[in-house]
């Protein structure tokens, strides 16, 4: 990959990390709140379904993960497994697609 591409990946990872810092904090607080008040799964779904705001928030969360995780894994594969070049980037694109699919499947299940 060109130095320009590498630099763009770096910017994307930093930007997605900033989004994740916010998303993970909100996510954890939400979990603690939901668990502490003893809500059942049905009661949680009753509150979450149809909420456009939460749907948007968790979609952004999934997008940030989809961008962030493969870029980090790219370095791990290069440095620890010696896997570089186009095949690595292609495999990571598939991994990103998998993350997006799994993530959005969950978001649609809870918030749609």
């Amino acid at each position: 990959m060109s130095f320009r591409g590498e630099a763009r990946l770096w910017i994307a990872q930093r930007a997605s990390a900033a989004v994740l810092a916010l998303c993970v904090s909100v996510h954890l607080v939400t979990i603690v709140y939901a668990v502490r008040s003893g809500l059942s799964a049905a009661e949680i779904l009753e509150r979450t379904r149809g909420s456009a705001a939460w749907f948007g928030f968790y979609s952004l969360f999934v997008l940030a993960v989809t961008v962030h995780a493969p870029i980090g894994l790219r370095s791990v594969l290069g440095e620890w497994a010696g896997w570089r070049g186009r095949s690595r980037d292609f495999a990571l694109l598939l991994f990103a697609a998998l993350l997006a699919w799994l993530g959005m499947r969950a978001v649609l299940g809870v918030f749609a």
Partner: protein, 242 residues
């Protein structure tokens, strides 16, 4: 003080090339003894075939760096008291560099990377131009000052895990050098320099482990320099200059 010292040190010293082994020597313990004193004693009194490098003995030349008990250090300014484990010392050639023999490494790749990072100054002025006036408190000068005292000892390079994992990585010293030049307002070719230091072999490979900064005997922060390079590359890419 001298009465509390152990009488001798058990010093394991790397002998041979890549496939060599440690050889144990017994070295008399002295007050205010440095690691370089220990190595010199072995070479002068016990085994004259021991190969090692040194020159200034006062922390200026950067030639005597070695691994001491697993940590890269400048040996002329490292006192035995500070690093000895009981009475044992293990002294080896710098990590991440090919071993020539005993404690001597091949530094070519280390310095070739300085050249690859465009580590040479290229001024834009001619002899007809007036002297450049650079205020000592101007931000670029302050940034350059922070990294300019590098003595090229290779300690940061030996301390860096990314160099181990990615042998093309330019390393902390070369990138620190590039950062001081980017902040030299008299210089030119900064976009070419940013191109040279960007990417998987350059500043973007750094994970900010901070080992270089932790071990630098001159207390420089190559980590901060590399972070500066990442910022400048990002700005240049976003502005479409690169």
């Amino acid at each position: 003080m001298a009465t509390t010292l152990k009488v001798s040190l058990k010093v394991s010293v790397w002998r041979g090339g890549k496939d060599g082994a440690f050889q144990v020597f017994e070295v008399p313990r002295e007050a205010s003894q440095t690691i370089l004193d220990v190595v010199t004693h072995i070479q002068r009194a016990l085994d004259p075939t021991l190969a090692y490098r040194f020159a200034c003995r006062v922390g200026m030349c950067g030639s005597c760096a070695m691994m001491v008990n697993g940590v890269p250090r400048w040996t002329c300014r490292t006192h035995v008291d500070k690093v000895v484990a009981g009475d044992a010392l293990e002294i080896g050639p710098l990590r991440n560099l090919p071993v020539i023999r005993d404690l001597v490494t091949d530094m070519r790749e280390f310095f070739d990377k300085w050249a690859r990072a465009k580590g040479e100054f290229r001024g834009g002025a001619t002899r007809e131009d007036d002297f450049a006036r650079v205020r000592p408190d101007s931000p670029p000068r302050v940034q350059a000052d922070a990294g300019i005292e590098c003595i090229g000892c290779g300690v940061c390079y030996a301390a860096c895990d990314v160099v181990t994992w990615n042998p093309d990585y330019l390393g902390p010293a070369a990138l620190n050098r590039a950062w001081t030049l980017i902040n030299d307002v008299r210089g030119k070719e900064n976009l070419e320099r940013l191109r040279a230091v960007a990417g998987d072999a350059g500043c973007h490979a750094c994970h900010s482990h901070v080992s270089c900064t932790e071990r630098c005997p001159k207390h420089l922060s190559p980590t901060a320099a590399i972070a500066g390079l990442k910022r400048e590359v990002a700005k240049a890419v976003l502005h479409g200059d690169l």
